[in-house]
């Protein structure tokens, strides 16, 4: 047998042996990430500064929570697919998805110690989901990428032909922020939860301006100028402006907008439920809430927001135009709206 064959044999043996040694424990089910882990679905590092939050959780509680880049819709779908034996311990998503998750039976009741600080209406009565922070929807505008065009100030402005090719919004059928955008537009243009006609008409009209409709967070694309105007939250815009020093402006449209909470749940029968609970406790603690405040979100425990962070928000007069809505109703009508959007607008 010549040298080549012997070489090949040796290589093959080495590969197979090392693969077997490496895979055997994995296949036999040993936990690869040892000790303290809690799996979170939808904790993207670049969204709402989860990166800082995850680091803080690790250093203060010793629990490692790996980042995860799903959006709300994917999170729910994955939780339901894995219902019989969940992979995740905690989940983060928009409020309507939290409501649906409870209906689908993938969450479990848990009341963190700061329970009473959370206002009614922003938490599920039994603790299947609870708000951790809120954001306001508006335009996140990369002023440089507009190349001299005026910054849009109203929903009606976006329909003008001068903004062709410059607009982006997340898919209302799968991303929560996408759905929030639709609700905001609907409320601002005279619709209601029972009548999404104005929103559908608006999106149809917007098509003439060639919008980009990604399915996942597109923070990077706004920074690079790829998407000049994105329908997104205030906290993302402030982060771009103050942390990443980009020439970004946040606009609350003249006709009005909405404020929405993001919630978290403890997953039913999660593998590391105790660690999941510890992580949730930290997120609702003073320290955890302060991290949200520093990332320009409104923490649900309002006491946590510092004066300095507050000064970086737009003035309160602007925020008067952004109102909360009936989140339970918003959850009930979401599926019908998704179907209608996919049918009429896509």
């Amino acid at each position: 047998m010549n040298r080549i064959t012997r070489m090949a044999r040796a290589t093959a043996t080495a590969v197979v042996t090392s693969a077997a040694l490496w895979l055997a424990p994995a296949l036999l089910g040993a936990n690869l990430a040892q000790a303290q882990t809690a799996i979170c679905y939808n904790c993207p590092p670049e969204w709402a500064d989860w990166a800082s939050q995850l680091r803080a959780i690790k250093s203060k509680t010793g629990i490692t929570v790996p980042p995860d880049n799903k959006n709300s819709g994917q999170t729910l779908a994955q939780l339901v697919a894995e219902k019989a034996s969940p992979v995740a311990d905690i989940a983060y998503y928009g409020v309507t998805f939290g409501v649906q998750a409870r209906k689908d039976g993938v969450t479990t009741a848990y009341k963190p110690s700061a329970w009473n600080d959370i206002p009614e209406g922003l938490k599920d009565p039994e603790g299947h989901w609870f708000t951790i922070h809120s954001g306001t929807l508006g335009f996140m505008v990369n002023v440089d990428a507009l190349k001299g065009k005026p910054v849009p100030r109203s929903w009606a402005d976006l329909l003008k032909p001068e903004y062709k090719g410059l607009i982006g919004y997340l898919d209302p059928a799968s991303a929560f922020v996408g759905y929030v955008g639709a609700v905001a537009i609907n409320q601002a243009r005279g619709g209601s939860m029972d009548n999404f006609g104005p929103a559908i008409d608006y999106f149809k009209a917007l098509k003439k301006n060639d919008p980009i409709v990604p399915k996942q967070t597109s923070y990077a694309r706004v920074l690079s100028g790829e998407i000049a105007i994105l329908l997104d939250y205030d906290f993302n815009a402030y982060r771009a402006k103050y942390k990443d020093k980009a020439n970004v402006e946040f606009v609350i449209p003249a006709e009005g907008s909405v404020v929405v909470p993001y919630v978290m749940s403890l997953v039913n029968k999660g593998p590391n439920a105790a660690n999941g609970q510890k992580a949730l406790e930290f997120i609702l603690s003073d320290e955890g809430q302060a991290i949200w405040a520093n990332a320009y979100l409104r923490p649900v425990r309002a006491s946590a927001i510092s004066k300095e962070a507050q000064s970086r928000f737009l003035p309160a007069s602007e925020y008067a135009r952004a109102k909360p809505v009936d989140y339970a109703k918003m959850a009930t009508v979401q599926k019908a709206f998704s179907d209608r959007y996919l049918k009429d607008v896509q």
């Binding site: 959006n71 819709g73 994917q74 729910l76 779908a77 339901v80 697919a81 649906q100 689908d104 990428a145 090719g165 410059l166 898919d171 059928a173 799968s174 098509k207 060639d210 980009i212 409709v213 990604p214 399915k215 690079s224 100028g225 790829e226 998407i227 000049a228 979401q334 599926k335 998704s338 179907d339 996919l342 049918k343 896509q346």
Partner: protein, 269 residues
């Protein structure tokens, strides 16, 4: 050991893996739509949106396959016939995209044709207007072409190298024009390869998800529709039904190619 037993022993590992990890799970998936009623299986035909998505996917895949076959054959023939320094390197560079996940290809198209892309910047310098093609059908088509060409080039180069040049010599010496040579010598000689390669390119294009996901185009392809159903409040039954339809369609094309082509094609498909 009897040859029969030997055959079974040889087959066993592959059959076990396939049976346990594909056949069985698929059986679960196939019965899933039934939970919502028998008509769910026909959803792809009855709902106009799904039918349109299927038509889009088939149309795109066919167009990409045609373009890939023509371009791939051209490049393959050229590289097989010409010798120059660095030919081997060129061939391996051209086959590199075979290893790329679809998301990279989507990213590349955005680098080329997005708002901040090279083409937009060049166009702005030349005409003052930014030309953006990444998010439309053009961008999607180019992206699909990008990951299909390497397969065709690799296959056609090998096939062209083993093509019998005597026929071509004879035709040329008899005074056949270039066009006649293409029709009468090259096409029949490369036919089995073309069929096999075309089938694989078509199948890959039909099932491609990562690229369309990254590009987020308005032109909806069936894998994205399946994803939409999946994330739209976990509508598994419909997602499963659409997947079955897509799988069936693709398999039919592969099967037809194998039948039409005979044994020479069967090896490559």
């Amino acid at each position: 050991m009897s040859p029969r037993l030997l055959g079974i022993a040889c087959l066993a590992p592959a059959a076990a893996v396939f049976g346990a990890f594909w056949l069985l799970p698929m059986a679960w998936l196939v019965v899933l739509p039934a939970a919502k009623g028998w008509q769910t299986y026909l959803a792809v035909l009855t709902h106009p949106r799904y039918a349109a998505s299927l038509a889009n996917t088939v149309g795109l895949s066919l167009a990409v396959t045609m373009a890939t076959l023509v371009l791939g054959a051209a490049v393959g023939l050229y590289l097989a016939r010409t010798r120059f320094a660095g030919r081997r390197v060129l061939l391996s560079v051209l086959s590199l995209p075979l290893s790329f996940p679809g998301v990279i290809v989507g990213f590349f198209v955005i680098l080329l044709g997005g708002r901040q892309g090279v083409v937009a910047q060049l166009a702005e310098a030349l005409t003052g207007e930014r030309i953006t093609f990444a998010y439309g059908l053009t961008g999607l088509f180019l992206a699909y072409l990008y990951f299909s060409l390497p397969r065709a080039i690799a296959t056609f180069t090998a096939a062209a190298e083993s093509m019998d040049t005597q026929l071509e010599e004879a035709a040329r010496s008899l005074g056949a024009s270039r066009w006649r040579i293409v029709l009468d010598v090259w096409l029949p000689g490369l036919a089995p390869t073309t069929l096999a390669c075309g089938a694989i390119v078509f199948a890959t294009a039909m099932g491609a998800f990562g690229t369309a996901f990254t590009l987020a185009t308005k032109f909806e392809v069936l894998p994205i529709t399946i994803y939409n159903e999946f994330t739209n409040y976990a509508n598994f039954a419909l997602a499963a039904s659409l997947s079955i339809a897509l799988g069936l369609m693709t398999w039919l094309v592969l099967f037809a190619a194998r039948r039409l082509g005979g044994p020479a094609t069967a090896a490559g498909v």
